[in-house]
């Protein structure tokens, strides 16, 4: 199958594989022990899937803000974004 039209690059491939693995892991987790919504520091009742979604969207905006406001490397903000996703997943 010719995938040239999708213009793949190694970084985006890694990005999508990681997202795919996270979603698969969440699916298996959900199947093994179904989750119930609960209230954390976010102002709404969330399931782990909701929190993952919120965390990833926040991470995207953190990266965009970093690119927009600074000229520094993205690797500096990347751990912060990951930490934020984990914080939202656990206490959100």
């Amino acid at each position: 199958m010719n995938m040239e039209w999708m213009a793949w690059t190694l970084p985006t491939a890694i990005f999508f594989i990681v997202i795919f693995l996270i979603v698969t892991a969440m699916t298996i987790w959900q199947t093994v022990s179904p989750s119930v919504g609960r209230r954390g520091f976010l102002p709404l009742t969330t399931t782990p899937g909701d929190r993952l979604f919120i965390g990833l969207i926040c991470a995207a905006f953190i990266h965009i803000a970093w690119i927009g406001l600074t000229d520094l490397s993205l690797w500096i903000v990347f751990p912060l974004a990951v930490a934020w996703v984990i914080v939202v997943m656990i206490w959100g």
């Binding site: 213009a7 690059t9 970084p11 999508f16 709404l44 919120i54 969207i57 927009g68």
Partner: protein, 291 residues
């Protein structure tokens, strides 16, 4: 209840998943791939990392388009929501005139979007348009939506209000019809003024449909493309260049696929957040519908 038996129903969603994969997910992944590269043609591309995002985020035209977009959506909501409620309150309550009013109101909603742009383009032309020629020649006020940014905005707002206020009015009317008569009887016994009836009976009872109308109108006006594209083409200058118009200029006009892809992703993220808030608000409306 057997958990595994229930989960088998998920298999039925596979056709939808396949369709969504080909219509949305794979194109979106391609856009992500485009956004980190400079594309010259088929097979000719170089990886540029976050350069495209950097140039898009430092592009003042994009920021202008974003503020313009929020201004447009804000004005649309400020005008259409109260006007729609007023129309709904003024509509007949029984008899043949109800059907007539509903059909007349729904007419603008049935016209294809680019046709609406064409209708208003001709209608407001200063030389031959009924509206434009009347304003210019009879009233003597210079009005030309192709030359003056203010006139272009007025024309756009008129078109948008004419096109979409009926939706708000129809939703509000449906909300009003759903209020049982006993509430009005109770208000009458208490000697409530029309304003008090509106404030304490009609408005709270319309909360659900008005939330839906508000969010629908916000999302639609935020994604608007066809009508302003046909009416003004984003001009004069850039005064009515909204996000979607600017995006198409980048991607199709200049063939800057990388820049356009980075821009699309940022636009997509904004819309995604709005969709999420939309969904949450709707959930809450569903819960609080019958307090």
């Amino acid at each position: 209840m057997n958990k595994w038996e229930n989960n088998r129903a998920w298999l039925l969603t596979i056709p939808v998943l396949i369709i969504v994969a080909f219509s949305a997910i794979i194109p979106l992944m391609t856009v992500v791939n485009y956004s980190v590269q400079d594309i010259f043609g088929p097979g000719q591309r170089i990886f540029v990392g976050t350069e495209m995002f950097r140039s898009v985020l430092h592009d003042y035209r994009l920021r202008d388009a974003l503020w313009r977009q929020f201004l447009f959506s804000g004005l649309v909501l400020l005008i259409e929501m109260p006007l729609g409620v007023l129309i709904a309150l003024a509509m007949p309550k029984k008899g043949w005139s109800v059907s007539l009013a509903l059909v007349v109101l729904a007419l603008p909603l049935l016209i294809p979007w680019n046709t609406i742009g064409t209708i208003w383009m001709i209608f407001t032309r200063p030389d031959i348009g009924l509206f434009g020629a009347t304003i210019n020649n009879v009233l003597g006020i210079p009005f030309d939506h192709t030359a003056s940014p203010i006139d272009a905005w007025i024309t756009l707002m008129l078109m948008e209000v004419w096109h979409w206020t009926p939706l708000v009015a129809l939703l509000a009317y449906a909300g009003l019809r759903a209020i049982p008569d006993v509430y009005y009887q109770a208000a009458k016994i208490d000697g409530a003024s029309p304003w008090a009836t509106f404030r304490y009976i009609q408005l709270p009872k319309m909360r659900g449909v008005l939330t839906i109308a508000l969010l629908l109108r916000f999302m639609d006006s935020f994604l608007i493309y066809a009508e302003p594209f046909v009416l003004t083409g984003g001009g004069p200058g850039n005064s009515t260049t909204f996000l979607s118009i600017y995006l198409v200029k980048l991607a199709v006009g200049q063939f800057d696929l990388g820049t356009a892809a980075a821009f699309s992703l940022i636009y997509f993220l904004i819309v995604e957040v709005l969709c999420f808030l939309f969904y949450q608000a709707l959930q809450n409306v569903g819960k609080g519908a019958n307090p």
